[in-house]
């Protein structure tokens, strides 16, 4: 709610300059309520996925794990699965909202502790790659669209389409093979996986450099995987703007080509790109899961894929919940920023 109050202040401050463009408070409130709805929906889906869908939860959760009826009963009692469904749901809500996501079957520690431990590497990897991909992708899109049909445009569009059609982890495998293992006379330049060397102190200067060297290939992989979308969307939204009359006016005023592009066309074309960024967070999460697996980076993604082989259901459920909630909140943030930037969407 503080968010909305803050937004109202912004609106009042801006109101004299933009008499028609108000209503950011209402717009923001709508978006916040929508995201709250999504979060509630997520909580419900998360509950039913594991308990109702397959029939008997204990048999699914412990497929092949139990040999006697007593073990099955003990398991049911332990996880409260012998309670009526309504009661289970209330317990689940209470636990989840207080941060209790159950205990990992494999590590025997609370899932929430595991998730907090693994959050850092994922954020570092995903944050760096998203930033790089956005910058490079948008630059590629602008250059391509401004000289549409030129050699640069043809190359960057086909490269983007090819990258878009490629499983990002396969690209990672190729990069490991070429740059980390080495091919023929080419020596391996980078480590094949992990976040840092065993003996390195991550907080010393050497340790930071070591981590950077370990992250170089995964960041390169994810950047290439993410940037295709930015480039393609930026290109097409700039092409949409280029037919507009205000650009002709700008040229008629005698502005140089670069000024017309950077001051007039690009800011408007950036707006639709923001929406795509918001819709893409799910894709970003998927990339993190597979690339962490390929490069053995101890983040949330690796936690989830490691839990698959056990299978460690509470860990899977916890990572699913956290990843989805993160996507919903990131979406909300992008929507709010978009509303601030473009008064038209507030209608």
């Amino acid at each position: 709610m503080t968010l909305v109050a803050g937004a109202d202040l912004v609106q009042e401050g801006a109101a004299p300059r933009r008499p028609r463009g108000g209503g950011f408070g209402r717009y923001a409130l709508g978006k916040v309520l929508g995201s709250l709805g999504s979060l509630v929906f997520l909580l419900v889906v998360n509950f039913f996925l594991f308990r109702v869908l397959p029939g008997d939860p204990a048999r699914t959760l412990g497929r092949g794990r139990f040999t006697t009826e007593e073990q099955l009963e003990a398991f049911n009692r332990n996880y409260g699965l012998d309670q009526p469904l309504g009661e289970q749901f209330l317990t689940y809500l209470r636990n989840t909202l207080s941060g209790d996501l159950g205990v990992s079957l494999r590590y025997r520690v609370p899932v929430s502790d595991l998730i907090v431990d693994r959050l850092g590497p994922t954020l570092l990897l995903v944050g760096t790659s998203t930033l790089l991909a956005a910058l490079i992708g948008i630059w590629l899109g602008i250059r391509g669209a401004w000289r549409r049909g030129g050699a640069f445009d043809r190359f960057s569009t086909s490269a983007s389409l090819t990258l878009y059609s490629m499983p990002e982890w396969w690209l990672g495998l190729l990069l490991i093979a070429v740059l980390a293992v080495g091919i023929g006379p080419l020596p391996g330049l980078f480590p094949t996986g992990g976040l840092h060397s065993v003996d390195a102190d991550p907080w010393s200067v050497a340790g930071v450099l070591d981590t950077a060297r370990h992250l170089a290939l995964p960041v390169l992989t994810l950047t290439l995987a993410y940037l295709a979308d930015y480039a393609l969307v930026m290109r097409s939204s700039l092409l949409d703007e280029m037919g507009e009359d205000y650009l002709t006016t700008a040229r008629a005023k005698g502005l140089r080509d670069v000024a017309v592009r950077n001051r007039h066309a690009v800011p408007n074309a950036l707006l639709p790109t923001t929406t795509v960024v918001a819709l893409n967070f799910g894709f970003v999460v998927a990339g993190a899961i597979t690339v962490e697996t390929v490069f053995s980076i101890p983040g949330l993604g690796l936690l989830a894929t490691e839990a698959l082989s056990v299978p460690d259901y509470w860990v899977l459920q916890g990572t699913f919940l956290v990843a989805s909630a993160a996507v919903i909140l990131a979406n909300l943030a992008a929507n709010l920023v978009y509303g601030l930037l473009d008064p038209r969407v507030r209608a």
Binding site: L42, L49, T60, T162, W170, V181, T192, A286
Partner: protein, 307 residues
């Protein structure tokens, strides 16, 4: 296109006229599609892969899939008898690749059918019916849209167990919201057109309006979207199989890559086990995307300018 038949005798029935008009529209569409070279190339590549998948039993012996009857050595490099080398079980990679195309394409198409059916029905209904039923469906679509695909698919696949049908269901059930939103917006615009109002005034019910007037107008969009969805579905199948969530008894491109990764084909430098399956995935996905884009451009004249 005229109302008289070629022979000039009796006037043709409404059905004949409609059929002729549709045939003409198809021809126009094909002429337009042929102008998109990338779409044509994509279609040709797809045709090749479909033929390969259909002819798999003829061109590659199914015995080559058996681990126990494998004839080659472990991770042998390409040779005359094994054009693409062997895998960690001594099977020919080329044989696996050809048979894998069947599963990858099949799962992709199955998942797409599921996704399109859900997406089209939800989109049509939420666009056509105003009021709370439409609003509820729209909300549901939006909620599903923000739940990230891969974590949901991982959880679903784990809970449901690993089989060919299940992986198709998982992909289908998680990939429909985009289609639903697209169909919904198209339905909203079709709904306002005058001929629908005329039909309603003449006493047409909801079922008739939806089936005879709204759906045919939305269908072209569904087709273009289908091709793009197949691309995404095949990519998803590859990723889920790579994570070990595919059918363990069948070979697909994704499961080959999982084998290669687990067998350490990267550290041993066995490129023939890693590169070919990935290239096949890229070729097929790229082709579907190119065909889908060309179809979109044919169906939506506003896009023609752009490419």
């Amino acid at each position: 296109m005229t109302t008289t038949s070629p022979t000039g005798s009796a006037a043709p029935s409404a059905r004949t006229v409609a059929r002729r008009r549709r045939a003409a529209a198809r021809q126009r569409g094909w002429r337009e599609f042929r102008r998109h070279r990338s779409g044509l190339v994509g279609a040709a590549v797809l045709l090749l892969f479909v033929l390969l998948a259909l002819l798999a039993p003829v061109v590659a012996d199914a015995d080559g899939l058996s681990v126990t009857r494998a004839t080659g050595g472990v991770l042998e490099p390409p040779s005359a008898s094994y054009p693409l080398g062997t895998d960690d079980n001594g099977r020919s990679v080329l044989t696996l690749l050809i048979w894998g195309s069947r599963i990858s394409l099949l799962v992709g198409v199955l998942a797409t059918v599921i996704s399109m059916v859900i997406g089209t029905v939800v989109g049509l209904l939420s666009g056509y019916f105003g009021g709370w039923p439409g609003a509820v469906l729209f909300r549901l679509t939006e909620w599903f849209l923000v739940i990230p695909f891969l974590p949901l698919a991982i959880v679903l696949a784990t809970v449901m167990g690993r089989s060919l049908l299940n992986i198709a269901i998982v992909i289908g059930v998680t990939s429909w919201p985009g289609t639903a939103l697209l169909i919904r917006s198209q339905t909203l615009s079709v709904k306002e057109r005058a001929y629908l109002e005329r039909s309603r005034v003449l006493g047409a019910g909801h079922g008739h309006l939806l089936r005879r007037h709204v759906l045919p107008n939305v269908m072209p969009l569904v087709f273009a979207n289908t091709t793009l969805t197949v691309a995404v579905a095949i990519l998803s199948e590859t990723t889920l199989s790579f994570l070990g969530l595919g059918d363990p008894t069948r070979v697909s491109w994704g499961s080959m890559l999982q084998d290669a990764f687990r067998a350490g084909a990267i550290t041993t430098g066995s490129w023939w086990f890693i590169v070919p399956p990935g290239i096949c995935v890229v070729l097929v996905v790229l082709s579907f995307t190119l065909v889908g884009q060309a179809l979109e451009a044919v169906l939506d004249p506003r896009l023609r300018e752009r490419r």
